[in-house]
């Protein structure tokens, strides 16, 4: 399956080249993506799947939009 992967702010350095159509085996979780990209779990504070906040072990489906953020704030 393919997902649209977005690594923001300080996580930008982990973004793969094919992030817009990032290929994954079936039954993959967010945690598996972090492992595959070498992103330390403690650097990821907020996870969005299709615009909804999710946890580390949330499963991914074909066509999902996954957004990974470190701790951010502002306003």
């Amino acid at each position: 399956m393919n997902i649209e992967l977005k690594c923001f702010a300080t996580l930008g350095r982990f973004a793969p080249e094919n992030a817009d159509a990032y290929e994954l085996p079936d039954e993959t979780t967010v945690a598996d993506v972090l492992t595959a990209l070498g992103i330390p779990e403690e650097e990821v504070k907020i996870i969005f799947i299709n615009g909804v906040k999710k946890e580390l072990h949330a499963p991914l489906a074909d066509g999902d939009r996954l957004g990974l953020f470190p701790a951010v704030g502002g306003g």
């Binding site: 702010a9 906040k53 701790a71």
Partner: protein, 574 residues
């Protein structure tokens, strides 16, 4: 510390003992004084209104991030009480001069403009001369030439001179640039109605404000700095990317108001993101980190430079980037930065200008995404151009002029950069704060989106009223202390965050001050403000969002605004 009162009609001034205001600071002082002394039903642009400027209880000490200024008055934009909060050097210099609060009263009968110059030797009120009509950047050049290189200014631009109801008061930063704004609520028009072009401070020969228990204060401040430097938001995110780091996450959450609050995502969000801004600044040789006042350890500001590497603007905030970006469909970051510069120079609130331009586009007066026309209209804010004048009077005024019904305001003040349907907690704050739509008054984006201080579903009503209420109380206390509200990101996640603030205040004033006292302080501020607004005629029916938020669903989540009048009242302390 004394209260300096200046009568702008007679040009007389007096230093008074603080009396009932002793020990108060910031928003607690400005709101109490306005409630006590300004008739709630008065015309905000009449001599009955006052401007009060006060640093917080901790301002002028070495406490990190304690240099914020509260500016109070009755707002000509909303008709409510107003506390507009700003950075810059003014608050700390005011405190070092021994001034607890500066109060500008009455108004002159003629059209002669003055500057007020305050030093440790006294107060001089003199003709503003050739500064009248100038933008705030040129005005600051004149201020430095006239009063010395280190002079610090509180200035109105051409918009404030013309009493435009969304006019800001601009304040100079440590580099002397008027890039910091008491933006919200049109207090620039109130200062203009008193014919004051600039209040200039020079604290030469004045020392830091001394604390009652110096050792205890030093120890508490040491822990305070550790808390701020130990949290990733205040030590990495904000200094690295500025507040516009929020563009991507609010867009991802489907809550970035786009095309006048029609959509929750902007297809060009990446082009206006904090990441892009930081990258652009680095490539051009600007500065990605900058403090709005000495003693700031967060450094969320920046010096944005143009393609030639020349300084363009500073204090270029998320709300500004959103207002001139996603909300109007302008995607060129240099255009957005130029609009920010024009607002600072003309003395206009960037949030209300973003809202006003969006409504002007909604009404067909400007094409969506037409940045050049936006720049032209903002530059004409003080001219006779009717559309430009309506824009400078704010979002609600443009809606009225063009007959637009999708007007994103509460109590006449433009909604900021989070769609309330998809960040329901901050929607509760927009509706119920004493200020008119204001995100800073109770920043529930923390728990709704950022997982700071808790974690709730932003699309659901559950828990939102309580979160907003607690944040409104806490924020009022921070504003009274003179602390930057961005400390909250670290405070909400540190077990001893609030108690460390209480410890600093206790050591500074030399009296017990506990976490309970912090809550009591915040609550009392809100009670004063609600009393004023009630006396001004506001009711629970005014604590509502515009009806289109309940009638139109927001993509991508398909959500609407669904709080009843009674549910929202529970977010208020009285």
């Amino acid at each position: 510390m004394k209260i300096l009162r200046i009568n702008t009609r007679t040009k007389e001034y007096s230093f008074q003992e603080p009396g009932e205001y002793a020990g108060m600071g910031g928003r607690a002082l400005t709101s109490r004084l306005i409630k006590n002394e300004v008739p709630a039903t008065c015309d905000p642009l009449s001599g009955e209104n006052k401007i009060v400027a006060a640093g917080g209880v901790l301002t002028g000490t070495a406490a990190a991030n304690s240099g914020r200024l509260s500016v109070g008055g009755k707002s000509p934009l909303t008709g409510t009480i107003k506390e507009s909060n700003t950075g810059g050097s003014f608050a700390q210099k005011l405190a070092k001069l021994g001034i607890l609060a500066l109060v500008l009263e009455d108004q002159p009968e003629d059209d002669s403009w003055v500057n007020i110059h305050i030093t440790k030797d006294g107060v001089t009120i003199e003709d503003a001369g050739d500064m009248v009509g100038l933008g705030t950047y040129d005005s600051m050049d004149k201020v430095r030439a006239r009063y010395g290189e280190k002079a610090c200014g509180m200035i109105v631009g051409p918009a404030g001179e013309k009493l435009r109801r969304a006019a800001s008061i601009q304040f100079s930063d440590p580099e002397g640039r008027p890039a910091r704004a008491a933006g919200r609520g049109g207090l620039g028009a109130v200062m203009g109605s008193k014919r004051i072009k600039a209040v200039v401070l020079d604290d030469k020969g004045c020392g830091m404000v001394q604390s009652a228990d110096k050792d205890a204060f030093r120890a508490a401040n040491k822990r305070w700095v550790e808390i701020l430097k130990g949290h990733p938001v205040t030590s990495e995110g904000l200094p690295g990317f500025g507040t516009a780091i929020l563009v991507n996450i609010i867009n991802e959450a489907g809550a970035l108001p786009t095309k006048n609050f029609r959509h929750g995502r902007f297809e060009h969000a990446a082009d206006i993101s904090g990441e892009t801004i930081a990258e652009t600044i680095k490539q051009r040789g600007g500065k990605t980190k900058h403090g709005c006042h000495p003693g700031c350890v967060i450094q969320c500001s920046q010096e944005y430079v143009d393609a030639a590497g020349k300084y363009l603007t500073s204090g270029f905030e998320y709300e500004t980037v959103w207002g001139f970006g996603a909300n109007t469909l302008i995607k060129d970051i240099d255009t957005i930065a130029t609009l920010d510069r024009i607002c600072d120079d003309m003395g206009l609130d960037t949030i209300d200008m973003g809202g006003a331009l969006g409504v002007a586009m909604e009404g067909g007066a400007i094409q969506w995404g037409d940045g050049d026309t936006c720049m032209d209209l903002l530059r004409k804010a003080a001219s006779d151009d009717e559309l430009a004048a309506a824009i400078a009077d704010g979002t609600a005024a443009v809606g009225k002029k063009l007959g637009v019904t999708r007007v994103p305001v509460v109590k006449g003040q433009s909604l900021p950069a989070y769609d309330p349907r998809a960040v329901k907690g901050v929607g509760v704050t927009y509706a119920t704060t004493t200020m008119g739509a204001d995100h800073t008054a109770g920043y529930a984006v923390c728990q709704n989106i950022l997982k700071v201080g808790g974690d709730v579903n932003p699309l659901d009503k559950m828990g939102q009223v309580e979160i907003s209420k607690n944040l409104q109380v806490a924020t009022a206390a921070l504003d009274a202390a003179g602390l930057c509200i961005f400390v909250a990101f670290a405070v909400l996640d540190a077990e001893d965050g609030v108690s460390t603030i209480a410890d600093m205040v206790a050591a500074h004033i030399g009296q017990p001050f506990t976490v309970d006292d912090v809550v009591k302080l915040g609550t009392s501020v809100l009670e004063d403000e609600i009393d004023f607004n009630t006396a001004a005629g506001f009711t629970k029916e005014d604590d509502q969002l515009p009806s289109f938020f309940s009638e139109e669903t927001l993509d991508p989540h398909g959500v609407t605004w669904d709080f009843s009048v009674e549910e929202l009242q529970a977010a208020k302390v009285k």
